[in-house]
Structure formats: C-alpha cells, structure tokens
Amino acid sequence: MLNRASILRVVSKLLIPPIMVFALYVQFHGDFGPGGGFQAGVIFAAAFILYALIFGVDNARKVAPAWLTRTLLASGLLLYTGVGVVAMMLGGDFLDYSMLATDQKSAQHLGITLIELGVGTTVSGAMITIFLIFDGRLRAEKDD
C-alpha cells in the first residue's frame, strides 16, 4: 500500500519542510502582519499530520510520542500564563508586556512574541494530540 503511493511519499517529503518553515514564518511574523500563533500552530500540525498520513501513525508516534505532544500542549499554556505571571511579578498587571523590558517598544514586541509562541505551541500540540488520539486511543494510553 505504502509502496504504491510513492508519488505521495516523494511529494510530501518535499513539502513537509517548507510547510514547517512557513508555519514558523507565520508564527514570527504575527506581531506586525497577518499571522500569529493560532494559524502557525495549525499549519505546523498540518505538516505533521501529513507525515502521519503518508508514513503511518506508528512512525509518527516515534517522532512525537504521547508524552511529547502532551508536554507541548501543556508548555504552550504554561508559557502563555507564565509571561502574564512574570509581568505581574515585575509589578505590572497580568499580561502587561511593558514590564518585560526597559524599552517600551521592544517590551511589547517581546511580550507578544512569547505569547504567540505559547499559543502556537499549544495549538499545534493540541491538533497533533487530537489526530493521534483518534487514530489509536488505546495505544496512546498504554505506551508510557
């Protein structure tokens, strides 16, 4: 089955890296143009899901075991709330980026980038998890 789909395999091998790069572009471009964490996360996950579809879920699992996707999911949320809490600790309000650096502009920049990164991580983690869990829920429960 897989052997007969050699065109798909070749094309997807070629496509997956650009998709991922595009995801990163969308991710880091998000603070001053169209883009952002949600979109980037989904695009990144799409690359991964494509891989899983073509090369089989078992292989995909090797790349992203359950603990990894879960950690990805969790760490994105942690990053997001973490930035907010750090801002609070520095004396600002929750998610008040201006506290993150001395210069106003770069503080805002830093803040939104980190936040978007958190969002991106979580979204991609979530999408991958959803996909993999639907494929093999029981394996996902047992393998660690």
Partner: protein, 127 residues
Amino acid sequence: METFYGLFNYWIVIVLMMMGFYMVIAQHNLIKKIIGLNVFQVSVFVFYISMSKIKGGTAPILTDGIEIYSNPLPHVLILTAIVVGVATTALGLALTVRIKDAFDTIEDDEIAILEKEDQERERGTIS
C-alpha cells in the same frame, strides 16, 4: 426587495443557522449531529465577520493612504470562537468514539433503547 438584497449576509446566516439547528435536532447519527452543530456555529462566525465589514474598507493593516478599514475586533473574537468550536468538535467526536465502543452504535435512537435496557437491568438486579 431592498431588505432582501441589502441584508443578504443575514439571510445567509439565518439559513445556515437553521440548517445546522435542524441537523442537530433531526439527525439520529451522533456524528451528523456534530456536523450540524458545526454548521450552526459557522453561521455565527459568518455573522460576526460580515458584521465587521465596511463598504470599501480594506484589511485592518495600518499603511499610508488607507483610511477605511474593516473592524478587526470581531475577527479576533471569531478566532477565539473558532478555537472553542474546534475544541468542542474534537471533544464531541472523542465522545462519539467512546460511545461507539460502549454501545456499539452511534445512532441516537438505538442508544436510547440500549439505555432503557440498562435502566431495566438496574431495576431488575436490585428488586
């Protein structure tokens, strides 16, 4: 006629909404219900986005020479709503999968019969 064409976006919203709502109510298949739910939610997304459009306005990116642009806030809101919708769908589907495991069917009416049997068994064993 003016109201009909002029407010065409709302008509679309209403048609979508009712279609989705009808699917949720009338379909017995749990997956189809979720699809209906999605159509229902999408109608709201359309509603928000079409509401923010301003005639002749561009994308809300600040560049020289552009005076009129659409309201970006509803887009942001809808982005959030979409995420919520995705989460709901995922959860709904996950539940459906587990219902399939537990009941061996995803037809609403068949599940209702099985549930009734469960209930009678419960009564039977205790009385």
